[in-house]
Amino acid sequence: MPTPLTHDDPVALGPYRLIARLGSGGMGTVYVARSAGGRTVALKTMHAAIATDPAARTRFRLEADAARVIGDRFGARVMDADPLAETPWLATEYVLGPPLDEAVEAGGTLPEQSVRALGAALCSALGQLHGSDVVHRDLKPSNILLTAYGPKVIDFGIARVIGDEWLTRAGAAVGTPAFMSPEQATGQEHDAAGDVFALAGVLVYAATGRGPFGNGQAADLLYRVRYADADLAGVPVALAPLLAQCLAKDPGQRPTTAQLAAQLHDGTGEFAEHLPHELLAEIARRAADVWRLVPQRLPAPAAGPETAAATAAAARRPSRRRFLVVGGALAAGAAAGGGAWWWQGRADARGGGGTTEKGGAPRTRNIKPLWTYTFSAVLSDEMGSVVPQSLGGIIVVAGAGAEAVSATNGVGVWDGNGRSEERSWQTLVTGGRLYRLWIGEETDDGIGSAVRLQILDPKNGKTIKTLVRFAGTNDELPTHQLLCITDRVAYVVVGKGKDDGTGTFSAGETDTLSAADIETGKLLWSKPLPVRFETSSRLHFLAAKTVGSRLVTLQQSENGTVHVVVWAASTGAVVWKQPYDVDDPDILRCEIAADSDHLYLGGSRLWALRLSDGAVTWKTSTERAYGPPVLRAGILYAVGDNAGLTAVDARSGKALWTERGGEVGEASTSGPPILGTRYAYYKNGSLLRAVSLSDHTTALTYQTSGKQFYADSDAKLVLAVDGAGMTAYPLQ
């Protein structure tokens, strides 16, 4: 999905005016660009610094030549190129269709019919290349774009003329291990038969969602490519022998592209007719979305803080591996029930909205919290956030561990951290019940037992009843998620496969989005989710909510990009999917604002997306960032960067009012405001600010070190959570 240009992108390259960015990598950047005649193209550039190397420049020229050799039908049509410019560039047709890897990640694996049609078309594409004595050498799912008229092979970055010695040396280290041929893996000649090997790997991926040699470290993969049999589990039975032949270690045993094509497909019907409806709908959506593209350029960033934050984020790589006990307080058992606490000025604060100091007027600034509770263990981890859930006067805070606190005074009630068998907590309060998705202790064999959805007693954290057992899943995987429970249906992410004990995703793990009836315990449906790299710490979903007959999710992909994905709640079919451009996905971990026909999202700008099809009904300009919004009675409340609390008419997207009179330079947009009946609360600088909903000025401010803020509407509290503990403020 295109993103705005950055401040230092050129205005134009050759006769092409740049419009947006499509992607960027170590070698260069790909842009959307327009000619003077209004033709829209994809414009691939090579960084000027890299282009100083004559070998790199030659390879760039060869790529343009190879793209021409493969032709318009099986490749992106080359419109124009200047390999001799200071920044060499190549303009091709703007292809309407997702790369195969994205298509499989988003819509699941392809049925046999599609795999066959795809394979036959790729055979023709490779046949065209090989006929001109060119081999691709890097055929892989991300280099294959699926259009309505057939696949297009792109990225000939390492394609070369067969027998070209000089470039063989220059390109020796390139290729993608998961789809590399054994001969390429050993540094030998990779010729047409090598491309057939890679093609079979691509088809295995299309049919199963993983390559024939799995995932993992490059060295392990290369070893398996050279010595292990291909894993064809899940490949349609009729295809397996054929693909096994293509994956023979001996290039001489593999069929030619023509032989393979003949066995894959009889050539009847149009390509589109062989595609799943959902994939074709995704292609059509891209064909329509490209017309919404508006040229945009980001301003130059202010120097300093951003890079510092990035470095800090990179340095922080904790694992989800159990929890870390702080200060040994747990073992000592000094604080009964676990956790230390303070209780400050509760009665006063509850009374009038401000504490009284020395008999003077009620204090309205820098007020202390009602109570503070310090966690007995580190509950936060890299994968999720620590979320308080309140039921019957008890607040359960769950993350990598769980603890429960009395809402009235912040005294610890129970502490789940000491229980060795529980590994990580996914809890949810809805309909007067506290639910928990069991994630068990890791064992030596990593095999575990079925994931269970249970009802917990908030008074002691003990299991009252097990509602659903997800057969065949592994409760040791720490990557399960309890998304939401609506109308007796629970929506969860559960995984199968062996836990490798890294505390993150495991190699070979396969996850599904599943729905189960909590009354009968029956699984209603199950949809495969993209396979994560092992050690990936990105949980599949940031937020989820049912709206009417749909399950609305914010889904995160391996590389951190976010999609709004709307599923039919009854079947799990994807109704629509929209990329969602946001700088920091983590701030989306909060309730999604929605009414019966729109979703409202923040995170960068504010957007209203039509629930029926994901069309953007309105959005704010990119000039100002907004945090996630909260919806109440047709009005959205969100915190604007340098604007503070802002109220927006949900229907029209028109701003109704913005807070007045307060300093707003430090307004935090990293979460939604908390709405009370009189005030809306949000963090500004180091204070929690309560803005009056009637006169729009700051009424009260509280001291806080909280990072995330949650409303406990039962106990009428604003709860602030940070790495060390939880603090409560009155919610009014």
């Binding site: 005016r17 419009i19 327009r34 000619s35 003077a36 005649g37 209004g38 033709r39 829209t40 343009a64 021409r68 318009d72 039908r73 992106a76 049509r77 080359v78 419109m79 124009d80 190129a81 200047d82 047709e93 703007y94 292809v95 309407l96 309505a148 008229y149 057939g150 297009k152 149009e270 390509f271 589109a272 007719e273 595609l275 799943p276 409806h277 074709l280 709908a281 292609i283 059509a284 959506r285 064909a287 329509a288 490209v290 017309w291 508006v294 609506t486 109308d487 049912t546 709206v547 009417g548 007959s549 709640a569 009854s570 079919a573 109704v575 019966s596 026909d597 629930l611 029926s612 099809d613």
Partner: protein, 330 residues
């Protein structure tokens, strides 16, 4: 050194208001199927905005045409394309709305190679009926629905040609010979010169659905699919009082509201349930995507000075390559 690739060459220029024509929207509409306005896909001079721009046919009063365009700006509903930009007074008449890839219904039949599947017609019927009900709720009558007025986009239909009947000839004047009106879709009372009323839209809807299901807007009863036969026949009653209400059409074709919607929530429209992936034959989706790719790749010559107008034609469907060579007809 620059190496230039093969691509569609710079084409001639036709200018409508601030827009330069990329191609005709209705190239490929069979000659016997009237279109009530000239429709073009056109581009702003900076190349950044692409629109569908309409001009009146010869013989249509430009003031009446512009009055209908003005009224269409306020149309509501998901399945209409309201005008968003109009010619200034004194200028040659035109109006424009943002482009989205879509085929006129007659072109869709050509691409499909015949009448559309019953499930597709059903989805079209519900979407159009629901949107006509919205328009009637605005106290407006569409009075322009006919096969070519319906554009087929990948996510559902888009209704255009608002007010074509009123623009073609004033009330009180017989309209049988009026330019651009499809005789099969013109309700008898409007053909006789009557003021267009909501039940006339029901007649036109029936004729349009008949066209989608058979290829003719005046089919023999037996040609209609049995499941749609009685309903379409009732829409085509000569007496407006015998035509069904739009809500009856929706109820009969959409079935009961989605059963899996929990109490308190309903799908935004009943048509949405019918317009999910697979509602349109794959070949048509491919042709719509193909149009998008062609318009993306098309180059125009923006006028530096006034140039002689040259018509361009673009044929949908066509060869299964990425971006086809546009065909020059003049």
């Amino acid at each position: 050194m620059r190496v230039s690739g093969a691509g569609p060459g710079i084409r001639g220029t036709k200018q409508i208001g601030p827009y330069t024509v990329v191609t005709r929207l209705d190239a490929g509409v069979p000659v016997h199927t009237p279109v009530s306005e000239h429709r073009f896909i056109a581009r702003s001079a900076d190349g950044d905005r692409t629109v569908v721009v309409s001009r009146p046919l010869a013989g249509v009063d430009p003031r009446r045409f512009m009055a209908e365009a003005e009224a269409s700006r306020y149309l509501l509903g998901s399945w209409v394309l309201p005008a968003v930009e109009l010619a200034a007074s004194g200028e040659q008449p035109w109006h424009a709305r943002p482009y989205l890839p879509a085929l006129p219904l007659p072109v869709a039949l050509t691409v499909h190679g015949g009448p559309l599947p019953e499930s597709t017609v059903r989805a079209l019927a519900v979407a159009l009926a629901e949107n006509l009900a919205v328009i009637h709720g605005q106290s407006l009558t569409h009075a322009g629905l006919c096969p070519s007025a319906v554009l087929i986009a990948a996510d559902g239909p888009r209704l255009t040609c608002f007010g074509a009947v009123r623009a073609a000839a004033p009330d009180g004047v017989a309209r049988q010979e009026a330019p651009g009106l499809d005789p099969g879709s013109l309700p008898p009372e409007q053909a006789a010169g009557g003021q267009p009323r909501p039940m006339g839209d029901v007649y036109a809807l029936g004729a349009t659905l008949a066209y989608a299901a058979t290829g003719y807007s005046m089919p023999e009863r037996e040609e209609l699919p049995t499941s749609l036969r009685s309903l379409i026949t009732r829409c085509l009653s000569r007496d407006p009082a015998h035509r069904p209400q739009l809500i009856e059409i929706v109820d009969e074709l959409a079935g009961s509201p989605e059963s899996d919607a929990p109490a308190g929530f309903a799908a935004p429209t009943r048509a949405d349930a019918l317009l999910g992936p697979g509602w349109l034959p794959a070949r048509l989706v491919a042709a719509i995507v193909h149009q998008s790719a062609s318009v993306l790749a098309g180059e125009v010559q923006f006028p530096v000075q006034a140039q002689a107008p040259v018509h361009e034609s673009w044929a949908p469907g066509g060869a299964p390559s990425g971006a086809p060579e546009p065909r020059r007809t003049h």
